[in-house]
Structures are given as structure tokens and as C-alpha cells.
Symmetry: C2
Subunit: 200 residues, 2 copies
Amino acid sequence: MKKTIITISRQFGSGGRTIGRKVAEKLGIPFYDKELVEQVALESGFAPKFVEENSEHSPGKSLLSYAFAPQGVPGVMKGLSTADFLWNIQCGVILQLADQGPCVIVGRNADYILKDREDVLHVYIHADMDYRAERIVRLYGDSEKSPETRLKEKDKRRAVNYQHYTGRTWGASENYDLCINTASISEDKAAELIIALMNE
Amino acid sequence: MKKTIITISRQFGSGGRTIGRKVAEKLGIPFYDKELVEQVALESGFAPKFVEENSEHSPGKSLLSYAFAPQGVPGVMKGLSTADFLWNIQCGVILQLADQGPCVIVGRNADYILKDREDVLHVYIHADMDYRAERIVRLYGDSEKSPETRLKEKDKRRAVNYQHYTGRTWGASENYDLCINTASISEDKAAELIIALMNE
């Protein structure tokens, strides 16, 4: 089946978001990164019913049919932690974005959320510590913590979050169609490989 | 640095060997699969000194300078298990093959053995159980055991062997430059992606 949607999971500092943006631009399709998905989820305003139904991760529910419902309804979180509450909403948002047509989605465990759709190409971008450390200092500057410490903390947090919500191991190649190491394959080349697969 | 050598690690039944052969043919470079490396190791005839030195996995030793030495010298295995003995010899063979120039090497943990060479592209080929089960029955026929049982046994053996000799986790994307899932990316396309990276 032809792939029209791309999910990009990535290690912090590996350049996955940059690659995702390049791919989306070249293909002329929407690009959603983690922050955008979170913003959509938070700004849309969901009815309790939507949240309740999505607590069970039931796919195929229409996000838009519940959007712009009143906020702040008592009991809307149904005892969920804020993280679980947001996770459920984001599942709905990502399923809905995929229903709308071709796009690139970065982060938010979209590989897992869209695992049952055959029209999705799942990509994982990673790189070794040295490469990422140099890159994050170059892009984001220094901080109190060493870049290695920042990376290890981020890696650990992502691995724990991924395991918690998906039951899978973060970075295991079996979760993806394509895994690319940007320490040895340039961002431009990585984008080219992904685009070559979409044009099959 | 330009890559001129390719290692292909693969899950049993994923088509990794076929892809490796296609790549070698297209690039016009030698192709060494696991069986060939084993045969070279066993047929060459090694001096005890070579084996002894290679027990410590010291890289850069010349295989040929010790080849064709007398076989059957007492104490040649120095208390090593046959597997460890063969592993040491194979390390030497693979390092030597890489020294000889561009090639494709399938299996034998060559990704680990050549991890310190910057001119090597490390590829991992995998696919989900259903895809591989159908493929091995089609190619190798039925056997007493179900294809799923055969695959699980092979997967487990490879994972244990890899962990034992490399200390790494089998199938972890971080060990490779490129990981490809042949259940969603065809063997021809996989070969094309690899060749595109060699032509950079």
C-alpha cells in the first residue's frame, strides 16, 4: 500500500525534526511537530465525552465533532493524571490529523498511535552521543548542565514515556520501517531516503 | 568519510542476504556471507600464534601472514570453546577482508568487528514475524516445526550470540547506520537506499 503519512520519532539532538520539516516541504504536505500537536490538543477545547471515549484509545473517533466544546467541566479528567489526560487527547488529535490526509508528524509516540494504518511510514532518527552533544550546543547554546547530561536525561525521559504508553522499547528497530543514524548519514540525505520511499 | 564497505546484519528470513548480494552485484564488489567467512576461516589453516594473538581481538593483525600454517597443533585452542575459537578466527578474517578493500559482508557480527572503521556502512535488515514466516516457507519449504517456532529459535540464538560476543543488544537501532524493515520496504528498494548512500 502506498505510504502517504510519515511519523518521525527521534532522539533529542539528532536532527529528526529538521529532517521532518525538509521532507514535508519537499512533498508539499503539512508538518506537525510535538509542540504543534500539544497546542492543537490544548486549544481545541474538548467535551468530556470525547475525552472519556478516548481514554480507551479507541481509534477512528472524530476529533472535530467534539472540538470547541466547553472547557473546565468538572470531572473532565476522570481521575487521570495530567499526562494521561493529555496523552489521550493527543491520541485523538493524531488519529484525526492522519484521517485528514498526507502529513509528517514528529514525536508524541505517533509511530505507536498510527501503527495499525498501512499508509504510514514510520521513521526513527538517532545519532551517537558525541554528534548530538556537539549539535545541541551549536544550536541551543550551553547551559548549566553538560550537553551529555542533558541528552542522557532527555533520552531516559523519552524511553520511560514511550515504554509507559506503548509497552515497547524505545529505539528498537522493529518499531520502525526505517532507522537512520545522522552521525553518518547527513540530514539532507536522510530526507532524500524518506522521500524516495514515498515516491514508490 | 566515504563509505566503501557494507556490513549487513539481519533477522533470519528478512531477506538481508538477498539484499546484500544485490548491492554487491550492482556496486561490482565482493560479497561475503556468513558461510563464506566460516569456510575461509576453517580452510585457511592458522598458526597457533595467530589464534593466540587473536584471542584478544587485537585488530590490525595480518591474517595472511599466518595463513597456511600447520593444522592440528596440540593446544591450539588454548582452552577456548569451539565457538570462541572460531569467533576469534572469524574476527581476524573479517578485519582482513575489510583491509583488502570495498566489499559487502553479511552476518558474523561484522558490524561489531568493524565498528571502529569509519569507511563502513552498517545496515540491519528486519521484518515482522508474519512476513518472515511466509517468506521462509516459500523459499525453504515446510519443516516439522512451524515457521514461527523456527524464527523464534533463530532470533533467540542470534540475540544470545550477539550479546555474548559484543555486549550489545541485538536489533537496537543505535548499532547501525541504517535499519530497514522489508515487510514495508521491498528488497529492491532497500538495495537502492544502500547504494544511494555509497554513492554520496
